[in-house]
Symmetry: C2
Subunit: 217 residues, 2 copies
DNA sequence: AATAAAATTCAACAAACGTTGAAAGTCAAC
DNA sequence: GTTGACTTTCAACGTTTGTTGAATTTTATT
C-alpha cells in the first residue's frame, strides 16, 4: 500500500508517547484523559494501558524518553567545555552555556516533539505535586555535575548560595521554555516567546552575572 | 453557643475559597473536584456552583481575591521606593526589592493562605493553558509600572532586553514560591525551600545583576 | 409575626473517567 | 502450516465528574 499517512510509519507505542507528550504539555496530567490520548494517537483506548500499565506509567514514560537524551547531550557539552578551557578551568559563562545550549540545539529546530517536551517539563518543575520528586529523579544526577563545575569556577562560593543560584536559573529556564505567550502580551510583541535564540543569548549572561555577584567572593 | 470550631467563624463563601485555594495549589485545576472542595470546606456540593457559577468561576475568584491585595501592596512599595530615592530615581536593586519584598511580607509569616496562593500562581504562570491569559489579566498592568521604573533606572536599555530580564525574574520568583522541595533534595538539605528570607535576600542581588549586565550600556 | 430575598441542602442527571478480562489479530520461528 | 508469544481490539465494569431544578432553611425587612 502506498499511502502517505503518518499512521503507517511509526509504531503504535511511539505514536501513543507522542500524543501523550503533546497533550500533557498543554493540559497537564489531570487535564488529559486516556481516551483523548488514544484518539490523538489513532489507537484503541486499551492499548496505552497495555504498553505502560496505567496512566501514571504513561506519564513517566513520556518524561523518561527524552530525559535520557537530554542528559547525555548536556554531559557531552559540559565535558567539551571543560576540554576547551585552559588551565584554570571553564568560566561561569561557559558552564552556563553548556547547560543551556543543548536545549536550543534540540529545541526549536522544527522539532515539535522537543518543544512539547520542554513545555511539559516546565509544568512539572513548577508543580507542587511532582516538582520535587520527578525533577530530582530525572535531572538532578546531571545537575550535580554542573554544580560541581561551578564550584570550581567559583572556589569561594558558599554552597547554599550556589544552590539558590541554580534554582533561579532553573526557574528562568523552565518558564522561558513553557511558551505561555505571556511575554508577547506584556511587551506588545516586542519580545516573542517563540524567539528561543534571543532568549538563549540573553539568559546566559543574565544568569552568569547573578552567579558571579552572589558567589564570586 | 460557645464552640471554638473554625467552621462557625468564617462565612461559607470564604471557606470555599480557602479550601479551593489550598487544593488548586497542590493539585491544579483539573486535579481537584468540586466534591473535594466542598468536603474540605465542610459545605454542600452545590454551594460552590451557587456562589461562583461553575468550577472555572471558582478558580478565577480564588486567583482574583489576593491579586488585588498584592497589586496594591506592590504599588505602594514602588511609590515608597521612588519617594525615598534621590534625584536620579531609585536604583535597579531598589526597584527589584520593591517588587519582591511584598511577597515576603505576606508570604511566609504563619499565613498558610498566602503561601498556598503563591504556590497556585507559580503553577498557573508556568502552565501553557493558563499562563498567558491569566497572568496577563491579573498582574501585567502593575508589572508595566515596574518595567517603566526600570526603564528610567536603565535609560540605555533595549526594550526587548528589559522584557526578557523581567521574564527571567518572573521564572525565578514563581519557582521559588512553588515550594516543590526540589532544592532541598538537590542540596541535601543545605538550602531549604521553606527559607523564604534566604531566598529573598539572594534573589534581589541575583536578578539585579542580570538586569545590569544586559541593560546597563 | 408576615414576607421576600438570599443562602443552603437534597437528589438526581447524563457524561466522562481509568481499568480490565476475554476475544481477535499479527508476526516470526520452527 | 502449526505453534506460541506479542500486539491490538472489543465491550463492559463500577466510579467519579460538573451541573442543575426543586425543596428547605436562614436572614433581613416591614
Amino acid at each position: 500500500m502506498a499511502d502517505g499517512s503518518q499512521k503507517s510509519k511509526t509504531k503504535r507505542k511511539d505514536r501513543i508517547l507522542d500524543a501523550a507528550e503533546t497533550l500533557f504539555a498543554k493540559h497537564g496530567f489531570d487535564g488529559v484523559s486516556m481516551r483523548r490520548v488514544a484518539e490523538e494517537a489513532g489507537v484503541d483506548l486499551a492499548l496505552s494501558s497495555y504498553h505502560f500499565g496505567n496512566k501514571r506509567g504513561l506519564f513517566d514514560a513520556v518524561l523518561l524518553r527524552r530525559a535520557e537524551v537530554l542528559n547525555e547531550t548536556r554531559l557531552a557539552a559540559l565535558e567539551r567545555c571543560k576540554a576547551e578551557a585552559g588551565e584554570g578551568g571553564p568560566t561561569v559563562d561557559a558552564i552556563i552555556n553548556a547547560f543551556l545550549e543543548p536545549m536550543l540545539a534540540h529545541g526549536y529546530q522544527e522539532d515539535e516533539g522537543w518543544r512539547h517536551y520542554f513545555e511539559l517539563v516546565a509544568q512539572v518543575n513548577s508543580s507542587f505535586e511532582w516538582g520535587g520528586q520527578l525533577m530530582t529523579k530525572y535531572f538532578d544526577p546531571l545537575v550535580r555535575k554542573f554544580i560541581d563545575a561551578l564550584k570550581e569556577a567559583l572556589p569561594n562560593a558558599e554552597p547554599a548560595d550556589l544552590y539558590w543560584c541554580y534554582h533561579f536559573l532553573s526557574g528562568a529556564l523552565t518558564l522561558t521554555f513553557a511558551h505561555t505567550g505571556r511575554i508577547d502580551q506584556l511587551s506588545d510583541g516586542i519580545a516573542k516567546s517563540e524567539d528561543m535564540v534571543g532568549a538563549y543569548e540573553r539568559m546566559v549572561p543574565f544568569v552568569a552575572a547573578g552567579f558571579r555577584r552572589l558567589c564570586d567572593k
